[in-house]
C-alpha cells in the first residue's frame, strides 16, 4: 500500500502531502525533512526507486515538481509509477495544462482529486474519465450551493 504521497518543488517546498498511514506530526516533519535531500539530489539518469528505512520511495519528476510515493517494500514499483502518472494526467485534464502555480492556488481542488484517486493507500479508480466526472459533479454542487445562497439573499434583499 502507499503510505504517503508528497509533492515537492525543486527547492524543497512541499506543495501537497497526503498520509495514508498513521504518522504523528513530528514523524511527518521528520519524514519530509529526510526524504527531501535524498530525492532532490538524485541525478537524472538514475532509476526512480530508492530504499529508505523500511519504505521504498518511488519518485518521478514532472517539470519542476517531484512526486514522491512511499510504498511497502514488496510492492510493484512500476505500477506505482503508473499511479503517479495517472494522477498527473487527471490533474492535467482538470486544470488544462497544469503547472505548479495551479496547484499552489487550487491546492484544495488537488486534494479532492487525489481523494477520488487513492483511498486507504490503494488505487480507487483506474478510469480517468470517471474521476473527471466525479470532480465535475462536485464542482457543480459547489456552484449550485453558491448560486442558491445568492438567489436566497437576492430574494431576501428584494
Amino acid at each position: 500500500m502507499i503510505h504517503f504521497l508528497i509533492l515537492m518543488s525543486r527547492q524543497g517546498k512541499v506543495r501537497l502531502a497526503k498520509w495514508y498511514s498513521t504518522y504523528t506530526q513530528k514523524e511527518r516533519a521528520r519524514v519530509v525533512k529526510e526524504i527531501t535531500p535524498l530525492v532532490l539530489s538524485r541525478p537524472l539518469k538514475l532509476c526512480n526507486f530508492l530504499d529508505w528505512k523500511n519504505v521504498k520511495l518511488i519518485y518521478k519528476r514532472y517539470a519542476s515538481l517531484y512526486f514522491v510515493c512511499g510504498v511497502d517494500a514488496g510492492d510493484n514499483e512500476l505500477i506505482t509509477l503508473e499511479i503517479i502518472h495517472e494522477f498527473v494526467e487527471v490533474l492535467d485534464r482538470y486544470f488544462g495544462n497544469v503547472c505548479e502555480l495551479d496547484l499552489i492556488f487550487n491546492f484544495h481542488k488537488a486534494y479532492y482529486i487525489l481523494d477520488e484517486l487513492l483511498v486507504a493507500g490503494e488505487l480507487q479508480e483506474p478510469n480517468k474519465k470517471a474521476i473527471h466526472k466525479a470532480i465535475g459533479d462536485q464542482d457543480q454542487l459547489v456552484e449550485n450551493a453558491k448560486n442558491g445562497v445568492e438567489e436566497g439573499q437576492g430574494a431576501a434583499g428584494r
Binding site: K45, L46, C47, N48, F49, L50, D51, N76, E77, L78, I79, L81, E82, I83, H85, E86, V119, A120, E122, L123, Q124, E125, P126, N127, K128, K129, A130, A134
Partner: protein
C-alpha cells in the same frame, strides 16, 4: 468508530452505486486493518465484488481480498475456489475490447487490475499445485503476449514474473520467467534493471543455474553509476558465487573494491573475505587474495579474518616460505599505509618464519613468484620501522615485539639489535607492551638453549578447533602477574604465559592454583606468539618441564585446560573464576566444588556477587537456566543489595547435576536483574560455557 460504522460499510458495499461500492470496499480495507476481528463479515462480500461490471469495483474487490489474505493467511483456502474466476477476469482483460477504452493505459487494458489480480493469484497458488496448474495457462499467455515497450506493459510483466516464481510452476514457465528477467536486465532503462536485479536476487536462491547465464551483465551492474543498482547487483553476486566462478568473480570484486566509495567498503570487504574463505580453490590463491584484500581495504578487515588466515598458514607447511615472502614483499611496499590487519599478519609471519626470507636458506621459490632479496638486517629494519611509528596501534606494537623476540632465535646475528629494540619499550605507557617488553628482556637471562626452546616454531593450529572456539565467548584476560618469581622455570613460564594470556583473547592457562602438568603447557610456552590462538589448545609435545604458575583472574575457566594434575579422588575444588562482568561494575564469581569427586555429575557452585561500582545496587537477583540434560537448584541468596566499591558481597549456592557428565560439558545462561544507583532497573544476560573441565 470502526466497529460502529462497519455494518454501514457492509451495506453500501452490497448495494450502492458503483461509485459508492468501490469506496466502501476500500474503506473496509482500513477497517479490517484496524480491527481484525471484523474480517469475517467481509470475506464473502469481497468475492461478490468480483462479479461487478465496473472495473473500479472489481479493482476494489481484489484489493480487499488481497488485504484479507495478507492479514490472515488461513483465508487463502476460502478464496482458492475463485481462482478460475480470477483467471477468467484476467483473460478477458487481455483480449482486445475486453474492457472499455477508458481503462486503457498506453494500450494495456486496466493494468492496475491486472497487476492486482496477478498478485492475488500468487498468494492463492503458493504451495498449492492444483491452483498453480489452473493459472499456468493464463500466466504463460500474459508473459508472452504483453507489449513490453511501455512502462504499463512492463509493470504487468514484472508482476507476472514474480507470480510465476512464487507459485509451483512447471520448468518451462520458470525458464520463460528467467528469460524475461534477462531481457529486463539488458534494457537500458535503469528502472527495468533495478526491478530485474531485485527479482533475480529472489530467484537465485531457488534456481542458481538459470541466473548464472546472466553473470556477466550482473557484474557490469556492480559498477553502475546508480547506487541502488550497485547495491542490488552486489547482493546478487554474493548469491551467485560458487567454486567454478570464484576466481573470476573475486578478481572483479577486488577491482571494484579499489574504486568503490566509502559507504560500500566495509560491507564489500567482509563479503569478499567470507567468499574467499568459503570457496578458495587452493591455499596459495587463498593467501594471495586475502593479502590483496588487506592491502586495499585493510582498515575494514576484521581481526577474525586475520586470525583465520594465520591458522590457515600454519596448517600449510609447504606454503610457509611462500607466505612469508608474500607478506614481506607487501609489508615492504606498503609500510607507510599498511593498516592494522596487514601489519599484524605480516609481522606474525615474519616473526615465525623469518629465517626463510634470507637468501640462501635453501627454500625454493614457487612458480611465478618474484624473488625476494633481503638480509637479516633488512628484516630487523622493517620490524624496527613498524615499532618506531608513533601512530601504530598498540596491538601492532605487541605483535611486533613478539615477532622481534622470535627473530632472536631465528636470526642469531641480529640478537644485540633486537635486544636493544625490545628494551626500548620497557617503560611504555601501554601495560601490555611494557609487560611483554620486560618479560622478553628477562628471557635473555636464560641459558640460550632454553630460550631457543621457548621460541621454537609454533605447532600447526587446529583449524576445526579454532573454528569451534571462535563461536565461544571470548573474555578479556589480565596479563599474567608472574615474572617476579626467582626460579628460572617460573619466570620463563611467566614469560610464556605473559605471551599467552594477554589482552583480547582466549584464555589458555586460565585455571590456576595447581601446577599444571608439564607436557601440555610447554607447547604453548614455545614461541609465545599469537595469544588468542593459544586458546585453541596446546597440541603437540614439547620438551622442557615448564610448570606454569599463572594467575588469570578474569578468566572463566580454560576451554582446553591441561590435564588436572593428580586430583584427589574426592572431592574436587576449582578456584573461583569470574564468569560475568557487568557494565556497571557488577561481577559474578563462580567457585566450583565437586563433593562427589571428579567423576560425579554433581557440582556445587558458590556464586559470589560483588559490585565494584561507586554506588550500591539493590534488588539484585540472578536467574539461571541450564540445558535439558542438566538439573539446577538455586539456594536463596544471602542478600539482595550489593554495596559499592566491592565493600560487601552476596553469596548464593547453586547445585548443578549433569546427567551427561563426561559426554557433554556444562553450560548455563544467567539473567541478572538489579536496580542501579539511580533506581532504574537493569537487566543483563550472559552465557557461561567455559566451565572448568571435569565439571
Amino acid at each position: 468508530m470502526a466497529r460502529d460504522l462497519a455494518p454501514d460499510v457492509e451495506r453500501i458495499m452490497e448495494n450502492g452505486s458503483p461509485y459508492l461500492r468501490k469506496k466502501a470496499a476500500l474503506c473496509a480495507i482500513r477497517i479490517i486493518k484496524k480491527v481484525p476481528d471484523m474480517m469475517e463479515s467481509f470475506v464473502e462480500r469481497a468475492a461478490t465484488l468480483l462479479k461487478a461490471a465496473d472495473g473500479a469495483v472489481q479493482l476494489a474487490g481484489v484489493s480487499l481480498m488481497l488485504q484479507i489474505v495478507e492479514l490472515d493467511p488461513t483465508q487463502v483456502d476460502m478464496y482458492r475456489p475463485h481462482v478460475p474466476a480470477l483467471c477468467q477476469l484476467l483473460k478477458r482483460l487481455l483480449q482486445p475490447g475486453g474492457a472499455p477504452a477508458d481503462y486503457d493505459v498506453s494500450g494495456i487494458a486496466n493494468p492496475f487490475l491486472q497487476v492486482k489480480l496477478l498478485r492475488l493469484l500468487r498468494h492463492l497458488g503458493r504451495g498449492h499445485a492444483e491452483a498453480s496448474d489452473q493459472m499456468s495457462d493464463i500466466l504463460a499467455q500474459v508473459a508472452s503476449n504483453i507489449d513490453a515497450s511501455r512502462n504499463a506493459g512492463n509493470a504487468v510483466l514484472y508482476e507476472t514474473v514474480q507470480t510465476i516464481m512464487g507459485v509451483e510452476s512447471i520448468g518451462g514457465l520458470r525458464v520463460l520467467a528467467v528469460n524475461t528477467l534477462g531481457k529486463f536486465l539488458a534494457n537500458r532503462d535503469n528502472n527495468m534493471r533495478y526491478v530485474a536485479l531485485n527479482t533475480l536476487a529472489k530467484v537465485v536462491a531457488v534456481d542458481t543455474q538459470a541466473v548464472q547465464r546472466h553473470r556477466a551483465t550482473i557484474v557490469e551492474c556492480v559498477k553502475d553509476a546508480d547506487v541502488s543498482i550497485r547495491r542490488r547487483a552486489l547482493e546478487l553476486v554474493y548469491g551467485l558465487v560458487n567454486e567454478g566462478n570464484i576466481r573470476a568473480l573475486t578478481r572483479e570484486l577486488l577491482d571494484y573494491l579499489a574504486v568503490c566509495d566509502a559507504e560500500f567498503k566495509p560491507d564489500l570487504t567482509s563479503k569478499i573475505a567470507t567468499l574467499i574463505q568459503r570457496f578458495a580453490p587452493d591455499k596459495r590463491w587463498h593467501i594471495d587474495n586475502l593479502l590483496q584484500v588487506m592491502t586495499q581495504a585493510g582498515s575494514y578487515v576484521k581481526e577474525e579474518v586475520c586470525r583465520a588466515l594465520i591458522v590457515l598458514i600454519t596448517n600449510a607447511p609447504d606454503l610457509h616460505a611462500y607466505a612469508v615472502r608474500a607478506m614481506y614483499r607487501n609489508l615492504h611496499a606498503y609500510q607507510d599505509v599498511a593498516d592494522t590487519s596487514l601489519l599484524i599478519t605480516s609481522l606474525w609471519c615474519v616473526g615465525e618464519f623469518g629465517e626463510m626470507l634470507v637468501a640462501g636458506s635453501g627454500v625454493p621459490l614457487l612458480e611465478g613468484e618474484p624473488a625476494v632479496s633481503c638480509s637479516d638486517r633488512d628484516i630487523v629494519d622493517l620490524v624496527a620501522t613498524v615499532l618506531a611509528k608513533k601512530a601504530a596501534d598498540v596491538v601492532v606494537r605487541e605483535y611486533a615485539l613478539t615477532a622481534a623476540m622470535k627473530l632472536t632465535a631465528r636470526l642469531p646475528g641480529q640478537v644485540p639489535r633486537l635486544q636493544a629494540l625490545l628494551a626500548r619499550f620497557n617503560r611504555s605507557a601501554a601495560l601490555e607492551v611494557q609487560s611483554r617488553s620486560s618479560e622478553y628482556t628477562r628471557m635473555f637471562k636464560l641459558a640460550p638453549p632454553m630460550r631457543a626452546q621457548l621460541l621454537e616454531r609454533m605447532p600447526a593450529l587446529d583449524e576445526a578447533e579454532y573454528l569451534r572456539n571462535m563461536g565461544a565467548e571470548v573474555r578479556p584476560s589480565v596479563p599474567s602477574t608472574g615474572g617476579a618469581a626467582a626460579a628460572p622455570a617460573t619466570s620463563s613460564a611467566a614469560a610464556s604465559a605473559g605471551g599467552a594470556a594477554a589482552a583480547a583473547g582466549g584464555d589458555l592457562l586460565g585455571d590456576l592454583g595447581d601446577a599444571l602438568a608439564p607436557a601440555s603447557t610447554s607447547a604453548p610456552a614455545a614461541a609465545g606468539g599469537l595469544d588468542d590462538l593459544l586458546a585453541v589448545g596446546p597440541v603437540g609435545a614439547s620438551a622442557g618441564g615448564v610448570a606454569a604458575d599463572v594467575l588469570d583472574l578474569l578468566d572463566g575457566g580454560s576451554k582446553e585446560p591441561p590435564a588436572p594434575p593428580a586430583p584427589p579422588p574426592e572431592p574436587v575444588s576449582f578456584p573461583p573464576a569470574v564468569v560475568f562482568q557487568g557494565a556497571t561494575g557488577v561481577a559474578i564469581r563462580f567457585a566450583f566444588h565437586k563433593p562427589g569427586g571428579k567423576d560425579s555429575g554433581v557440582t556445587e557452585i558458590t556464586a559470589t556477587y560483588a559490585n565494584a561500582g561507586p554506588a550500591a545496587v539493590t534488588d539484585f537477583n540472578v536467574q539461571a537456566a541450564v540445558p535439558k540434560f542438566m538439573q539446577l537448584r538455586l539456594e536463596p541468596a544471602s542478600g539482595t543489595t550489593l554495596p559499592g566499591q566491592g565493600a560487601g558481597a552476596v553469596v548464593q549456592k547453586v547445585y548443578v547435576n549433569n546427567s551427561q557428565h563426561g559426554v557433554k560439558a556444562l553450560a548455563m545462561r544467567l539473567r541478572i536483574s538489579y536496580k542501579d544507583a539511580t533506581g532504574s532497573p537493569v537487566v543483563e544476560q550472559t552465557e557461561v560455557t567455559a566451565f572448568p573441565a571435569g565439571c
